[in-house]
């Protein structure tokens, strides 16, 4: 167990280090002087130089990289060029929308997909299975932002059950916040749930063909008992792999969906930052997104070990 954990942890740290280098390098090759850009075309050369010194842009690259990483590790993400406030503050405010939205969608997707996949596998080759396969095939093909637009048209504009967009803030109460995130989460979750349900189904069917299921049936278990006691846990291993990948899709999807619902999340922050060339915000937000994906990969690895004794020795 300790060996497995250590190897996963090393891989987590190496991935983070390499990813941060890549992001830093990409931002570095961007042409143009940030300080000059911030001060506008008419700035005096000496004011530009002063700002460069203030921002630390005159330091060598290796030092700037270390300063950036060191800052991130201590929670200091730098100061936004345009907003003139610490990037950490900006991001944490936006994260309060994006993170709950992603998790909400992930929970919805899992809660729908696992039972649906189970039913389809248990009734494989029968009408219920065909119906589920048909609906999920369609679900995969629907772009989530278009689905979101249709949801708004139906539930917000026509039925007026939800507001068409915006976020009241968590100060307005948990319920109000969740309600504002419900349509976006549904829009995000349904296509992913379709994929996950199909994975669950095929993983279960694959497992049901294994020798140990035949052993279980020979012991007198009914098919339902064999699924519950033996097939389900084995099928979870591929399902978890997909679940881990879906987190990054949901995170990216959330950035797009925020646009449909005018949610003040990371997505809106990042798009504004790109248009205003607020590179430190872009850099830090991207690093944060990548960190989240790598962290989830690590958590999935831990979950494998929780399920599979062969990894625990």
């Amino acid at each position: 167990m300790a060996r497995y954990l250590a190897s996963r942890l090393v891989s987590l740290l190496v991935s983070l280090a390499v990813a941060s280098l890549v992001i830093f390098a990409v931002i570095e090759v961007i042409p143009g002087d940030t300080a000059a850009f911030m001060l506008g075309l008419n700035a005096q050369p000496d004011t530009v130089a002063a700002l460069r010194a203030e921002l630390g842009l005159d330091l060598p690259r290796s030092l700037r990289y270390l300063a950036w990483i060191g800052g991130m590790l201590t929670g200091d993400f730098g100061v936004s060029y345009t907003y003139r406030v610490p990037v950490a503050e900006l991001i944490s405010a936006r994260l309060q929308v994006s993170l709950p939205l992603t998790l909400y969608a992930l929970a919805l997707s899992t809660a729908i997909a696992i039972p649906v996949g189970l039913i389809a596998a248990a009734r494989r080759g029968r009408p219920a299975d065909y119906a589920i396969m048909g609906v999920t095939q369609l679900g995969i093909a629907v772009p989530n932002f278009w689905f979101a637009m249709l949801l708004v048209a139906l539930f917000a504009v026509t039925l007026r059950w939800f507001s068409a967009g915006g976020f009241p803030g968590w100060e307005a109460g948990l319920w109000a916040g969740l309600k504002a995130l419900t349509l976006p989460a549904v829009a995000l979750a349904l296509p992913q749930a379709s994929i996950l349900a199909r994975v669950m189904r095929s993983a279960l069917i694959e497992t049901l063909g294994q020798d140990y299921i035949r052993t279980a049936r020979a012991k007198g278990l009914t098919e339902a008992q064999a699924i519950r006691a033996h097939a389900f846990r084995n099928a979870l291993i591929p399902v978890m792999t997909i679940l881990g990948l879906q987190f990054s899709f949901l995170l990216a999807g959330a950035i797009i969906i925020e646009n449909v619902f005018f949610l003040p999340g990371l997505g809106r922050l990042i798009f504004q930052a790109i248009t205003q060339r607020d590179l430190i915000v872009v850099e830090s937000t991207v690093m944060l997104l990548v960190f989240a994906v790598i962290l989830v990969t690590f958590l999935v690895d831990l979950a494998y070990a929780a399920i599979d004794p062969r990894l625990r020795r």
């Binding site: 020798d211 140990y212 052993t215 049936r217 007198g220 846990r233 084995n234 004794p309």
Partner: protein
């Protein structure tokens, strides 16, 4: 106790079984033998009613007065595992990898409501003790991956006997196991039958296993029982021609021309070969350990000679074969082919490689499914450059192995397992090598096909002056076709000598153990071959 009458089975319209009738008595072993596809496993699965979808069953199966064919799926679940239990061929995959052995044995009891969980675990302990997995080494909390194949098969048996079923069906229970492990598992099954009064239906392809264990035997072929009777009587009289053919094939010894030229230098020499494999790292940055697969092996194969290399799985015999073929480097030692060094680390020249070829076990994985036979057989020409008359040479090789030149245009999937093995042999001889390594080359074949292939190999050896290194776990096969034999264990050669001498009077304890564990049909049962033939 278990009585099957006129059982017929169709799967998706294809007839599988035709009017099978048999009885399994309590405290007795009933042997069901047949080659692959004869329907012996399907007979067992019909009793269990664990048939694939689209199966239609007719006839009667009664178990202690209960007519099983009349039961619905729910009632059948109550019978399976409680009154009739089953173990399968492949112990490595028969257990759920994610649950402990204790849980899996106890499950039989829990699922039938025979005991609450705690009590079931206590009984599971008893049953594991009974099958020879003692508490000090085999805790209930161990997982299948921590156990060997033989130990896993014992867990499967414990699971099957947990509720003391009246009938136990064992479908090729030892086919995937080494011969010494096989002997232990068979002894365990036999003691369960005698001591607990259980009826055992033993399904196997191996006539020798049945000869040693069964009270009564039925021979199956193409979904029918062709002959049935008390074991000794059946073996002695062999009324049905198929039984006769099967027994003849199983003890077939091909005639071989004595072709050894004494005093000539050996074709192959191996001197002090050592092959290590790195193990996984102990810690992330720790040093790697090594596993020594081949440990100081020396051997020689003379011109026209057949040398057998026997040993159980994991003894290093296949690794040695790959090293000889120049596919893996040695850490220590040397390999010489007709005096020239074979050194995988430096690269082996094509002309040298062309002096040796190989035939593998698996007739299905041996060919690129997208290539035609002509191209497959011609592949070794890559070593020496394809001659202009290559198609004629391929045709010639195909004819030499008993196939037709027209088969050149076919794809491998158009052939049976035995025919594919012939193609593999054609590929091996097409460039006229000196040495052919046969790595378990007949192990996957049914006995009748195996006899034909052995006959072919003996014939080719005489015709082309080939030397064979015959690698096998099967002592009977090695005895039939080799002049000299080497016994390998844990990377070392423990005994070496002329085949008949070693088999008649083994010197090393391990050889004796191997021979004792090998099931054999008593010689006198097979004598008087002519009694019914004439």
């Amino acid at each position: 106790m278990l009585s099957i009458r006129d059982l017929s089975l169709e799967i998706a319209g294809t007839p599988i079984l035709h009017g099978v009738s048999l009885d399994v008595a309590p405290g007795k072993v009933f042997g069901l033998v047949g080659e692959s596809g004869s329907g012996k496993s399907m007979t067992a699965l019909s009793v269990m009613r664990l048939l694939p979808q689209g199966a239609r069953l007719r006839g009667r199966v009664s178990l202690g007065g209960t007519e099983l064919t009349a039961l619905d799926e729910r009632q059948m679940c109550a019978v399976r595992g409680a009154r009739v239990a089953m173990i399968f061929q492949e112990p490595m995959t028969a257990l759920n990898p994610l649950r402990t052995i204790g849980e899996q044995v106890a499950e039989t009891l829990v699922v039938h409501g025979a005991a609450p969980r705690g009590e079931a675990m206590r009984i599971a302990r008893e049953k594991l003790d009974r099958v020879g997995l003692a508490a000090d080494r085999f805790d209930l909390g161990r997982y299948p991956f921590e156990l060997s194949g033989g130990q896993r098969q014992r867990v499967c048996i414990a699971m099957a006997i947990a509720l003391r079923p009246a009938i136990l069906i064992a479908d090729e229970p030892t086919t995937a196991l080494d011969v010494t492990t096989q002997a232990q598992i068979l002894a365990l099954l036999e003691s369960l039958v005698r001591e607990e009064g259980m009826g055992l239906m033993l399904i196997t392809h191996d006539l020798a296993v049945v000869a040693g264990m069964a009270d009564e035997v039925a021979v199956m072929r193409e979904g029918r029982i062709v002959e049935r009777g008390p074991t000794e009587t059946l073996f002695r009289t062999r009324r049905h021609p198929y039984t006769r053919a099967l027994l003849a094939a199983s003890s077939h010894v091909p005639k071989r021309a004595a072709l050894r030229s004494a005093g000539a230098p050996p074709v192959l020499e191996v001197e002090g070969a050592v092959r290590d494999y790195p193990l996984g790292r102990g810690a992330v940055f720790g040093a790697r350990g090594h596993f020594r697969a081949v440990d100081g092996v020396s051997l020689a194969v003379g011109r026209g000679e057949s040398v057998g290399l026997v040993g159980e799985s994991g003894c290093g015999k296949s690794t040695l074969a790959r090293a000889i073929l120049g596919l893996e480097p040695l850490q220590v030692g040397a390999i010489r082919l007709e005096g020239a060094p074979v050194d995988a680390a430096r690269g082996v020249p094509g002309a040298l490689r062309a002096k040796m070829q190989v035939v593998f076990q698996d007739p299905f994985g041996s060919f690129n499914p997208r290539h035609r036979v002509a191209r497959l057989v011609a592949e070794p020409f890559h070593l020496v450059g394809r001659p202009p008359d290559w198609r004629d040479r391929v045709a010639e090789a195909l004819q030499a192995v008993g196939l037709k030149p027209a088969d050149m245009e076919k794809f491998p999937h158009e052939f049976s397992g035995g025919q594919r093995q012939r193609i593999a042999i054609a590929r091996a001889i097409v460039i006229r090598p000196r040495l052919v390594i046969l790595d378990e080359a007949v192990s996957a074949l049914d006995v009748s096909i195996r006899a034909q292939i052995l006959e072919l190999l003996a014939d080719l050896q005489g015709r082309f002056g080939l030397s064979y290194l015959f690698i096998s776990h099967d002592l009977a096969v090695v005895r039939a076709i080799t002049d000299r034999v080497l016994v390998m264990r844990a990377g070392r050669i423990v005994e070496e000598g002329p085949t008949e001498a070693v088999f008649a009077a083994p010197r090393h304890g391990y050889t004796r153990q191997l021979l004792a564990a090998t099931p054999r049909i008593p010689e006198d049962w097979l004598a008087e071959e002519t009694r019914h033939g004439a």
